[in-house]
Each structure stands twice: as structure tokens, then as C-alpha cells.
């Protein structure tokens, strides 16, 4: 019997990507995807279930589908997308309910992968250049997304302690770039002038979106368990990032970001506070633990930036996305999955 996987946040970029990767893995029998929104990518055999963001129906789903693997990608790491309350609801309450469901006695869960972020390390002037997985933060978290992610990781840790038979992996992803993903950083880099903080040129680290999916599949495959940083090799200054994207920098005042962040957001320049901190002090994470476990990155930090820049140029030249957008139609998807008229390959 193959794997039965539950993917949270199927409608998010990562949920969709991970589900696609799981579909191409013949050892996976069943993929159930949860989200409040419809999937945004085309999926062959993943079953989509619509939930509320607090996952109140989760324990029923876990019981009914008897999943053995949970991939928790439904965590907001971009505070400009959701209100403070919303972030708390999705990240903290969602994770709490997920682990409550996974730890009920009927649960057959053996593997959990949580997609966290290097935001949990923060970014201050007291930081070391490189954070290892066990390096503590240098200051208490000041931003809601960071706070909520730290709470999420605390739930993950508790669950791992209470359920030693389950391989629980927390992956902390650095700034993700690639051809498709949209983050505060990609939005900043697609502006005519790239915002920077005057008098600072921090070193940043990036990871390619394909390496993110590969890392999730890798830890699932190896059943690693533990906390891992996922980030490409090398740190590069923000000015160089802009240069690779062929953009000029527009320096913002180094003080009083609270005053100018909101008016700028009205103008379409969205700078969440954690991004301003990152653009002041930067952050590097030590990626060697996952490498020692056998993972091989395909892209360096600079490579991820270039991949993003090339995709952005292509989009700019075409004036639209290079692929037509996908729209989820329940009837169509149900037809392909369940109608007797569809000839399906026998699996197994």
C-alpha cells in the first residue's frame, strides 16, 4: 500500500507545487488537498476539499482518509496578504487544529513536514552572519508573522515530542525566488525602482522555488525528522540582486519606516516591516544540515535571483504570463477523477 498524503493549503503556491510533485510519485496512492481557496494549478488526481481556515473539519478528514503523511504548507509568511487576525487564525489556530487531528488515537500519521520560514530567526544588528538551526534569535519577535511562525514551530515541537514514532520535519525556507512565485521581495524587484534602505546594503540569501519542492519531497522520502534550513549557497548584497534584475535602487530613509510604509503601500509599494528589517540587516542561514543529510541544491542564491530576473523579463516582453492561467472547475475535475467514462490507468 502506498502513501496517503494530506496537503494543507492546496490553493497556495506551495500546496499546488507539492501536490504536483506528489502526483508524479508512483509510491503515493492518495493525495487530499485542503484549502479555503480553489487550487491554482492543474492537478491530475489530487482530491480537493474546501475547509475554513481554522480547519474545523480536519479531524473528520484525518479519520476518514486515514492519511499517513501530512504536508503542512498552509502558513502565511507574507504579512501583506492578510490582516493580523487572519495570519493568527491561519498559522496558529490552523496548525493547532491540524496537530490536534493528527494526534487523535485513530490517526495513522507517521510523517509530517511543515513549511516554515527563516523569518523565525528575525533580522537585527545583533545577529550572526549565519544562523544555524539551533542558533537562538538575538531579540524577541516584533512582527506578527514572525510571532505566529514561532508559535507554529512550538506546536510542531510539542507534537514531535509527544509522538516520537512520527518523523516530524520543519523546513525553514529562506527568501524564495523563481519563475512563478510572488512574494514581497519579488514585488519589490518588479517595481521600476527597487526600494532599499539608505546607508545599508545587506546580504541576503535566496532559494529557488524548485529546490523548495525538491527539499520537501526529499525529507518525505528520507523520513528525516528535525529542523532544517533550506537556502541556496551564498549571500549576495541587495544592490547586486537589483543589478542582476537590471534595476536601480531607490533609497528610503533608514529611520521612521512606520511613517512611510503605509503611504507607500497606498502607492503600490508594499513593504511589510519584516522586509524593511531584512533590507536593513540581511540574514544568512547555514544550509549544511540538510546537505549533510544528502540533499543537493540545484541552484545557488545568485542562480535563484537570475532565474527570477529572466522570468520577469520574459513576462515583461510578452506583456502577460507566459502560460494561460488555470481555473478550477469542480464539475470538470470531478468528471476526470470519478466518472466511469474516463479510462484510468490501473495503479499498483
Amino acid at each position: 500500500m502506498g502513501r496517503r498524503v494530506l496537503v494543507t493549503g492546496l490553493g497556495s503556491f506551495w500546496g499546488g507545487r507539492v501536490a504536483q510533485a506528489l502526483e508524479s510519485d508512483p509510491s503515493v496512492d492518495v493525495i487530499v488537498g485542503l484549502d479555503t481557496r480553489e487550487p491554482t494549478v492543474e492537478l491530475e488526481r489530487t482530491e480537493f476539499v474546501r475547509t475554513d481556515e481554522g480547519y474545523s473539519i480536519l479531524s473528520r478528514i484525518v479519520r476518514a482518509t486515514q492519511v499517513d503523511t501530512i504536508v503542512h504548507t498552509f502558513l502565511v509568511v507574507d504579512s501583506s496578504l492578510a490582516s493580523s487576525r487572519h495570519v493568527h487564525e491561519i498559522n496558529v489556530i490552523g496548525t493547532m487544529n491540524l496537530f490536534a487531528a493528527a494526534s487523535q488515537p485513530e490517526s495513522r500519521v507517521t510523517d509530517v513536514v511543515v513549511k516554515s520560514s527563516t523569518l523565525v530567526y528575525g533580522s537585527t544588528y545583533r545577529d550572526p552572519v549565519w544562523f544555524a538551526e539551533d542558533t537562538p534569535r538575538s531579540s524577541s519577535p516584533r512582527h506578527r508573522v514572525e510571532r505566529s511562525l514561532i508559535e507554529v514551530e512550538a506546536y510542531v515541537r510539542d507534537y514531535a515530542l509527544d509522538n516520537p514514532q512520527v518523523a516530524v520535519s520543519t523546513l525553514r525556507f529562506s527568501n524564495v525566488l523563481g519563475s512563478d512565485i510572488v512574494t514581497p521581495i519579488t514585488r519589490a524587484l518588479t517595481l521600476p525602482l527597487v526600494p532599499a534602505v539608505f546607508g545599508f546594503d545587506p546580504r541576503l540569501q535566496f532559494v529557488h522555488e524548485d529546490d523548495v519542492v525538491r527539499a520537501i519531497m526529499f525529507v518525505l522520502d528520507r523520513r528525516l525528522g528535525g529542523v532544517f534550513n533550506v537556502a541556496g549557497d551564498g549571500l549576495l548584497p541587495w544592490s547586486e540582486v537589483a543589478a542582476i534584475c537590471a534595476k536601480r535602487l531607490a533609497p528610503l530613509p533608514p529611520f521612521g519606516s512606520r511613517l512611510y510604509a503605509r503611504p507607500l503601500a497606498r502607492l503600490g509599494v508594499d513593504l511589510p516591516p519584516e522586509l524593511i528589517e531584512l533590507l536593513t540587516y540581511g540574514r544568512g542561514v547555514d544550509n549544511r544540515r540538510l546537505k549533510r543529510a544528502g540533499f543537493e541544491y540545484q541552484t545557488t542564491s545568485a542562480g535563484a535571483v537570475r532565474s527570477f530576473a529572466e522570468a520577469a523579463r520574459l513576462r515583461g516582453a510578452l506583456g502577460r504570463a507566459d502560460r494561460p492561467p488555470y481555473h478550477y472547475e469542480r464539475d470538470v475535475e470531478d468528471f476526470f477523477r470519478h466518472s466511469p467514462a474516463v479510462v484510468r490507468e490501473q495503479r499498483g
Binding site: Y125, W130, R203, G234, Y281, A302
Partner: protein, 340 residues
């Protein structure tokens, strides 16, 4: 002998009589430094050699900094970098530019002179520990300049977090080889990358003292530098520097202004009184004399989570005392503040 490091030639010729136990080293070292300088062609950048020197630094820098920087990147992935800024924020091209600008200051303003330069290792990690003085200390750039020019290897300076907090200062300091003084940073530099690292254990208390307390070493922090050297398994090389106190003597301090600006001290220097506003930036041309003392090695295994507090504090105090004694010795021999 255009390739002979200048400080070596001058010190060996002029100070023949005084260099007693260091003579042997002084003779041995120029040849090693010369050999290095010879194959890297980093000369003083004069005349026809300037063209060569202009191209060489970048090449030399990649050869020099890349192995350490790329240590984790062993897989040979395509890495489309556009600048030479390394993981610590240092740019070898910018360093080279600053070296060219600073060289006349080093040679003709401070007339820096080294004793026992050969004790600075040509390879392997080492932690250099020195006294720190002058409102805007001239010791750090001089040590970095001298070693980088004559030994051809980069020096990273560990600095207080204040350098990272202030705009522009942050950028300038990190591009020129400054690194936030965090134990993890020091360990990575010393143990994993085997670099030369410089630290002033007095911190801001050294340069922040008034002229009346000149050449009296402050407390050496909490001995963190000893612990770092033990954990990294590298020797500590104590340096004593004479002259820096006179480059920018602090007459008195303005604590309220310092607090308002969020800096450790706000000095009123003799330079300000003598030169007006220019005095904030222009040091007096006191002769800088740097003596490299016997390296201190620790007989403990590296990579331990912690070391005996008493051993750490003993070693720290011992190194402090060595530097203090050496300072007194150097001051005894110094004939004049300006002439050395």
C-alpha cells in the same frame, strides 16, 4: 628592491641596534613575504607596475577569498555573481582601492613601523589582539593595511554592534573587512575558513578613555576572545601599539550628547581644538609603532561547547598583562611622540 615590503626594509635598516630578539625573525620574514609578493605582483603600484596592480587585485582576490567563501559550494553549481562582496560583506576590490588611498597615510603620516612582523602567520587562522586607542582609532586600519599589503592575506576586524546599526558606517565597515563581533562569526572565520581576525578586547572603553589615562589597558571584556580562540583551535597573537593614543587624544567627553546620539562616547579631542571642525576627522601625525608579541597557544581541544572559566580568565588577564608590559617597554624606548 621594489617588491620588498616597505615597513620591513625601513625597520630592519633603521632599527638594527634596537631589535634584539626579533632580529632573526625580521631577516627571515621579508623573504617569505617577498616570495608571496613576488608571485602575486602586488607591489606599491608605482609607474609601470600600476597597470599590473590594477588587474591583479581582482584576480588575486578571487583566488584568495573564493576558496573559503565557496567552501560550502563544492557542487560546482552555476553561480552568476556580479560583485565580489563575500559572505562577510567585504569587497576585495574596494579594499584594494582603499589600500591605495590609505598607503600614503600609512607611510608618511603615521610612518607605521612593525616589530616582529614575521610572527604573523602566512597561513592558518589566528586571532590578533591589540590595545585600542584614539577617539577615532588609527590602529585598526593600520594593522589591516600593513598585513594585507605585506602579507597578501585578508584581515577581518571584529567590531561592536554599533558599527552595524549606523547607516553608511555599516556599509563602509563591512565592505572593508569589518565583521559583527559574534562568537559564531568568529568561529566560522577562524576555524572553518582559517582567516586572520583582529579584535580589540577593550571594546569602546579603549578609545573612549581620556588622554590622562593613556596606555592604561581597560578590562579585556569577559575573556570572550580567549574562548573563541580555544574553540577555534587557533593561536592568539597579541599586538601592542604605541602612538595611537596621541593621534586623537580625548580631552573630555560629552555623555549627554553621546546618550542622545546613541553612541558609546562623544569625545572632545585636542584635534577639534587645534583644527576646528576638521579635527573630527584629521588625526595628529604621531608615529605608530606596532609590536607583534609571542603567539599564545592553548593546550585545550577545540570545538568544546565551553571552557573552564578560570582558565579563560587567567589567559585573558595574562595576555592583557603581556600587552601592558610591552606598552611600557615601548614607551620607555620611544624618543618622541612624532619621531618615534
Amino acid at each position: 628592491m621594489p617588491l620588498m615590503p616597505r615597513s620591513q626594509t625601513s625597520s630592519s635598516s633603521r632599527r638594527k641596534a634596537r631589535t634584539t630578539r626579533n632580529t632573526g625573525r625580521l631577516v627571515a620574514v621579508p623573504s617569505a613575504a617577498e616570495r608571496r609578493a613576488g608571485d602575486r605582483k602586488v607591489s606599491q603600484g608605482k609607474g609601470s607596475e600600476r597597470a599590473a596592480a590594477e588587474q591583479e587585485p581582482t584576480e588575486g582576490s578571487t583566488a584568495k577569498t573564493r576558496p573559503s567563501e565557496a567552501a560550502p559550494t563544492t557542487s560546482g553549481l552555476d553561480d552568476p555573481r556580479m560583485s565580489d562582496v563575500d559572505e562577510w560583506g567585504r569587497s576585495e576590490q574596494l579594499r584594494e582601492l582603499v589600500r591605495r588611498i590609505y598607503d600614503p597615510v600609512y607611510e608618511h603620516w603615521f610612518r607605521v613601523e612593525w616589530d616582529g612582523f614575521g610572527r604573523i602567520p602566512t597561513e592558518g587562522g589566528a586571532l590578533m589582539v591589540a590595545n585600542h586607542a584614539g577617539a577615532i582609532p588609527a590602529d585598526a586600519p593600520s594593522i589591516m593595511h600593513g598585513i594585507e599589503r605585506d602579507l597578501g592575506r585578508p584581515v577581518y576586524g571584529l567590531a561592536d554592534e554599533i558599527f552595524k546599526r549606523i547607516p553608511v558606517v555599516n556599509l563602509a565597515w563591512s565592505r572593508l573587512g569589518g565583521v559583527q563581533a559574534h562568537p559564531d562569526n568568529a568561529y566560522r572565520l577562524l576555524r572553518e575558513q582559517q582567516q586572520l581576525v583582529m579584535v580589540f578586547p577593550e571594546g569602546s572603553k579603549g578609545p573612549g578613555k581620556t588622554y590622562s589615562e593613556r596606555y592604561q589597558l581597560r578590562r579585556f571584556g569577559r575573556g570572550g576572545f580567549v574562548q573563541i580562540a580555544m574553540r577555534s583551535g587557533v593561536p592568539i597573537i597579541p599586538l601592542s601599539i604605541v602612538g595611537s593614543e596621541e593621534t586623537m587624544p580625548i580631552l573630555f567627553k560629552l555623555p549627554l550628547l553621546a546618550r542622545a546620539l546613541g553612541v558609546p562616547y562623544f569625545p572632545v579631542t585636542a584635534n577639534m581644538l587645534a583644527l576646528g571642525p576638521l579635527g573630527i576627522l584629521v588625526p595628529f601625525p604621531a608615529k605608530l609603532h606596532i609590536r607583534v608579541l609571542e603567539p599564545v597557544r592553548f593546550d585545550v581541544p577545540p570545538d568544546q561547547p565551553r571552557y573552564s572559566r578560570s582558565r579563560v580568565m587567567d589567559a585573558s588577564e595574562q595576555i592583557r598583562q603581556t600587552i601592558q608590559d610591552s606598552l611600557h617597554d615601548m614607551l620607555r624606548r620611544r624618543r618622541g611622540v612624532w619621531s618615534g
